[in-house]
Structure formats: structure tokens, C-alpha cells
């Protein structure tokens, strides 16, 4: 990724500083060292680097280990890192074991200058001190330049989402393809109503800070509204307390909107446990005892996905599942009747609401997909041509694309 012009000057300035520091420290370390009592060789080439793209709150100290630090037969037991600032007294700020050669000092203040020494500590109590480094000041970087391309991509995609939301708000009709799993929600709820059996809604096992859980609760709002209309029994076991509170609020609002406030019961949403397989045991037990006619598995799932889905399959429930965890998607495809794959889970609330502004955001996603497809095609074509012809230009295109779309 070629850095922005500003970044280049900052980066080159940083390189010159590091190079100068290295040369000074290398020269001083090689010319003179202070063996101290016990005559154990001190570490050499002490380098102090400012951590890139941070708030100016840490410095990394690295060194070449003592000549006496030999793996397996070492006389050295540890290294002690000493620091002084502003001509003040030197103090030990940390110790690392023999064999290690870096230490991150996270107790520095921006705009203060620090001088470091590293001491070898021998098994017999002897110590060997390096010479002090030059004073180094930790810097703050305002923007993480490694993420600048990602930042621009977010701006383009965010802008296109907002543009299409506005377009939809002005009344333009937007086409959204049919999603089978969402079209089947009516059928699934109707089936449970006809059979007089409950509907089980499982929102995954993660907390409210997980976007999949949030997407699941938005779908719950639409589903529970329909359940309230049909007067069907709903049960939602949860693995997180905050999801319980948010789930209750969501269902309560749906029942109020349906004019069925009397049918709402807080116990529809029940906390089970945070423990993954304890939760699975309780939910599987419910499936076996109550035999729900319909099961929704929508949210963040891990190893428990197949245990839940297979149990639901064995009790004959119609199952609609959806997750954004690629490793769990095949399990749901194998065990459930309908599966929302990845992005379909996030599109569900917009799709079900039919609200123009929400549908507009889905069209914004399509711009992102279009850009991704174009970049993939260009990258594949350039890599193939570079491989076949040995062209430096096309190899450069591939390298540039790799840099742009790689986040360090």
C-alpha cells in the first residue's frame, strides 16, 4: 500500500531517527560497556523505538542478549530494565527472563524524554550494565496510516449506503431479490399455530455487543409481532442477561403494537446460563419435552450449532437458521429447512420491514459487492498475465492491490 504523501514524510523522518539512534547506540555499546560486579557481559545494541500509531503511551526497548546468555548452559538468569527521565534518579521498571530481548514500557508519558539501560543478572548475583541510550520521546500519531485505505473504503461504502437510503426516501422503487428463508417465516409460524405447539426462538449465545445478536433481535421484533397476531406460544431461552432484558422489551413492544398486551408474559424470555453446553443441555431438554413446531436459530453460534439444529430436526420442527459464522453455516444447511447465509441475516430486518429507507441500505451494500467483484477480477487477471508474461507492470498491480486490501 503506498502511503499518503503526509505519511511518507512522517515515515521517512521516523526511519532517519531510528537509524541515527541505532548507529549512536551501536557505536556506544560496542566501544564501551560497564561490566559491573561479577564480570558478566552486558547486553549490547540497546534500541528504543516509539510504537507506531499509538497515543504516545509506549516505547519498545530491544537489545542483543549478553554473550554469556547461552541457551541451555546460561549463567544469565534475567535482564533488568532501568529508566531515568529528566535527569532524575534511575529506577528499575521491569525484568524479563534470560533469552528474551525485548521489553515494552507502557508507563511512559507523552512529551517526556526517557533514557534506558539494560542490566544482565547472573546466577551468582553478578550484574553487567549496558551504557545508557539517548533520550527518546514517545510520540502520538493522530491517524493510523496502516488503516487509511480501509478508512477510505468505509467512507465510500458508508456514503453509498446513505445515498441509497436518501434515494429510497424520495420514493424511488428498489428491487430486492426474494430470500427463501424469510419468505418461509409466515409458513413456519402458521404451522405452529395449526399444530397448537410452541415456537422456539434461539438468539445465539453472544451478548448485546455482538452485531449478530442485534440483527437477531431486530428479526425477533418482526417475528413476535406476527406470533402475537396468531396468538401462538413463544419461548426464547437466552445465554446472556442483557439479551434477556432486550428480548423482553422487543417482544413486549410487538405485543403492544398487535393490541395483545394481555398475552405478553415476561417468562417468554428466560435466562438459562452463560455456559455454552449448559445452555445447549437446557434448550435440547426443552425441545424433547415440549416438541416445538417451529424453531428459529438466528444469531451468533459456535460448536453448539449442530447439537441444537440436529435436536430440532429430530423432534420434527420446521427450522429457520441464520448466522454470520462461516464454519457453522454448513451445519445449519445440513440440519435446517432454511438457512440465512451470512449477509442475509443482516438484511432480514430491512427485508421484513419493507420500509424504503431500510431497503435503501441493502442497495448500498450492493455497491460494496460491485467494487469487491471488480477488484477481484482485476487482481486475478493481473496475476494471471504477470505469471504468463513475467510483466513487471502487472506484478506491480497485484502487489499494489494486495497492499491496499491488507490490514496490518
Amino acid at each position: 500500500m503506498p502511503p499518503a504523501p503526509g505519511a511518507r514524510s512522517i515515515a521517512s523522518g521516523g526511519r532517519v531517527l531510528i537509524l541515527t539512534l541505532t548507529l549512536i547506540t551501536l557505536t556506544s555499546s560496542l566501544l564501551a560497556t560497564d561490566p559491573g560486579p561479577g564480570s558478566i557481559a552486558p547486553p549490547t545494541l540497546i534500541m528504543v523505538n516509539d510504537l507506531d500509531y499509538d497515543n504516545g503511551e509506549s516505547l519498545t526497548i530491544s537489545w542483543v542478549p549478553s554473550l554469556d546468555d547461552v541457551p541451555g548452559q546460561s549463567e544469565v538468569v534475567a535482564y533488568r530494565i532501568l529508566r531515568s527521565s529528566g535527569g532524575g534518579q534511575e529506577a528499575t521498571i521491569g525484568t524479563v527472563l534470560a533469552g528474551e530481548s525485548t521489553f515494552v514500557d507502557q508507563s511512559v508519558n507523552r512529551d517526556s524524554a526517557y533514557v534506558y539501560r539494560v542490566a544482565t543478572i547472573a546466577a551468582n548475583g553478578g550484574e553487567g550494565y549496558s551504557l545508557p541510550t539517548d533520550a527518546v520521546v514517545p510520540n502520538r500519531e493522530w491517524l493510523n496510516w496502516d488503516l487509511v485505505w480501509l478508512f477510505l473504503a468505509c467512507l465510500v461504502l458508508g456514503g453509498s449506503v446513505v445515498f441509497f437510503i436518501e434515494t429510497a426516501r424520495r420514493g424511488k422503487k428498489l428491487f430486492v431479490r426474494k430470500i427463501a428463508g424469510l419468505e418461509a417465516i409466515d409458513e413456519a409460524i402458521g404451522r405452529a399455530t395449526e399444530m397448537g405447539r410452541p415456537i422456539l426462538y434461539i438468539p445465539g449465545i453472544q451478548d448485546m455487543d455482538e452485531v449478530e445478536t442485534l440483527a437477531s433481535l431486530t428479526i425477533l421484533g418482526k417475528v413476535s409481532r406476527q406470533i402475537a397476531d396468531y396468538d401462538t406460544q413463544l419461548f426464547m431461552p437466552v445465554a446472556r442477561s442483557l439479551v434477556m432484558t432486550a428480548g423482553r422489551e422487543t417482544i413486549k413492544t410487538s405485543y403492544l403494537e398487535a393490541g395483545r398486551a394481555d398475552a405478553f408474559n415476561e417468562d417468554m424470555v428466560r435466562y438459562i446460563t452463560d455456559e455454552q453446553f449448559g445452555y445447549v443441555a437446557a434448550v435440547d431438554g426443552y425441545m424433547v419435552r415440549e416438541r416445538p413446531a417451529t424453531i428459529f436459530l438466528l444469531g451468533a453460534f459456535f460448536g453448539e450449532s449442530l447439537v441444537l439444529a440436529e435436536m430440532g430436526n429430530s423432534v420434527g420442527a420446521i427450522q429457520i437458521a441464520g448466522t454470520a459464522r462461516p464454519p457453522q453455516i454448513p451445519f445449519f444447511v445440513a440440519a435446517c429447512d432454511y438457512t440465512l447465509i451470512g449477509e442475509e441475516l443482516f438484511a432480514a430486518s430491512a427485508y421484513l420491514s419493507g420500509e424504503p429507507r431500510q431497503l435503501g441500505s441493502l442497495k448500498g451494500q450492493d455497491v460494496g459487492k460491485g467494487i469487491a467483484m471488480a477488484v477481484i477480477l482485476i487482481g486475478v487477471a493481473a496475476a494471471t498475465i504477470a505469471e504468463l508474461t513475467g510483466s513487471g507492470f502487472f506484478a506491480g498491480v497485484v502487489s499494489t492491490l494486495q497492499n491496499v486490501f491488507t490490514t496490518r
Partner: protein
């Protein structure tokens, strides 16, 4: 106000978290850390909401002798017993912490909790077999392709096929072929899904931050 205040909080925290990813320092970074601490504190207190709800429902079920009330007795006894064991292990002077190997809490963890969790996890092996059986039935063209691909992947990974065909095909042809299937077609499919997910998360987050999507706070306009 009941809608506006949560929407405003969502907007501010959303913008702060998004920007602090790109701008690590300054007041944005500090605010993000403060918000992170708040989340941890709220989650810690929220645990009690869940525990009390579980206990309340279990006790009501026992009191009314509802259907399957015996399970509620087990839940209530285990819940109260584990909390008591944890408190004793944490405060008794003979233990340094409740994590000490000799504590009653650790005994419960090692001898009841961990084996029960492992048992549930082990059931997964049987479910993988039954789900695979259904998935691999060649009912249509896609399922047939899946069946053939899975035959080569499983046979190449074991590596059964290379052993069987060793007299005819020398080397690791089937293991390499299984590796090729996993590295190219499977990875390409997974990356396509991952790109869609990333874009979906972004659009979904924008809907929430901009207040267009409100179901998580009870919906409404």
C-alpha cells in the same frame, strides 16, 4: 424522550467506537476505553439479573408444583450450592483464592461441571454423522457434487485413498487433491461469504447508528 435518549446514546457511542479504530490517540481513544469499562461494569451487574430471574422462575415452579418441577429443584439446589461453595472458597482463611485446587468450588468445577460440559460436546460427534448422512444424499445436482467432493476430501485426509491406490498411483495424489479442494473452491466460497458478511455488518451498523433500525430498543417511530 424514551426513544430519543437511547438513539442519541447509540449514535454517540457508535461514532466514537468507529472513529477510535482509525484515530487511536487523544480524547477519542480515552473515551473509547471509558465506554469499554462501562460495558464491562454493566455486563457484570447484569449477570445478577439473569441469576435472580432463573431462581425466581424455578422457585415459583416448585411452589406451584408445575409440570416437571423436579428439574427446577435440581436447578435451584445446584445454583445456591455452587454460589455457597464459591463464597466459602473465596472467603475461608485456609484458601488463598477460590481457584485453589483444594477448594469445594474447584471440586465442583473439576468433577461435575467440566465432565458434564465435555459430555454435551461429545454428543456433537454423533450429530455430525447424522447430519452428514442427510447432507450427502444425492438428491439433486448440488448434493451430488457435495457427495463427490466430500468423498475425496475425507478419503484424502485420512489418508485412506492413497493407501488403497498405492499400487496404481504412487505418492500422495489424493491427499494433494483434498488439499486443493480445501484451499481453492472451499476458500473462495468462504471468502465470498465473508465479504458479504463484512458489508452486511457495515450496513446493519449504519442503520443502527443512524437510528433507522430501532427494533433492539423496542422499535417504534
Amino acid at each position: 424522550m424514551r426513544r430519543e435518549v437511547p438513539l442519541l446514546i447509540t449514535f454517540i457511542t457508535g461514532v466514537v467506537f468507529a472513529l477510535s479504530y482509525f484515530i487511536p490517540g487523544g480524547w477519542l481513544g480515552q473515551t473509547e476505553r471509558v465506554f469499554g469499562d462501562w460495558i464491562t461494569i454493566v455486563q457484570a451487574f447484569a449477570v445478577w439479573l439473569g441469576v435472580l430471574n432463573l431462581l425466581k422462575i424455578s422457585l415459583i415452579k416448585i411452589q406451584r408444583k408445575e409440570h416437571d418441577w423436579g428439574y427446577s429443584v435440581v436447578i435451584a439446589v445446584c445454583l445456591v450450592g455452587t454460589i455457597a461453595a464459591g463464597m466459602y472458597s473465596g472467603f475461608a482463611p485456609q484458601f488463598e483464592s477460590f481457584r485453589d485446587p483444594e477448594t469445594p468450588f474447584n471440586f465442583i468445577f473439576r468433577n461435575i461441571f467440566a465432565p458434564l460440559g465435555a459430555t454435551m460436546f461429545a454428543i456433537l460427534a454423533f450429530y455430525v454423522a447424522s447430519a452428514s448422512y442427510r447432507a450427502f444424499r444425492a438428491r439433486n445436482r448440488e448434493a451430488t457434487i457435495l457427495l463427490i467432493a466430500s468423498f475425496f476430501v475425507m478419503g484424502g485426509r485420512v489418508p485412506l485413498l492413497d493407501s488403497i491406490f498405492m499400487p496404481i498411483i504412487d505418492g500422495t495424489f489424493f491427499a494433494d487433491f483434498a488439499g486443493w479442494i480445501m484451499s481453492y473452491p472451499v476458500t473462495a466460497g468462504q471468502r465470498a461469504i465473508a465479504i458479504g458478511i463484512a458489508l452486511g455488518i457495515m450496513a446493519s451498523s449504519l442503520r443502527v447508528i443512524l437510528g433507522i433500525e430501532r427494533s433492539h430498543i423496542g422499535g417504534g417511530n
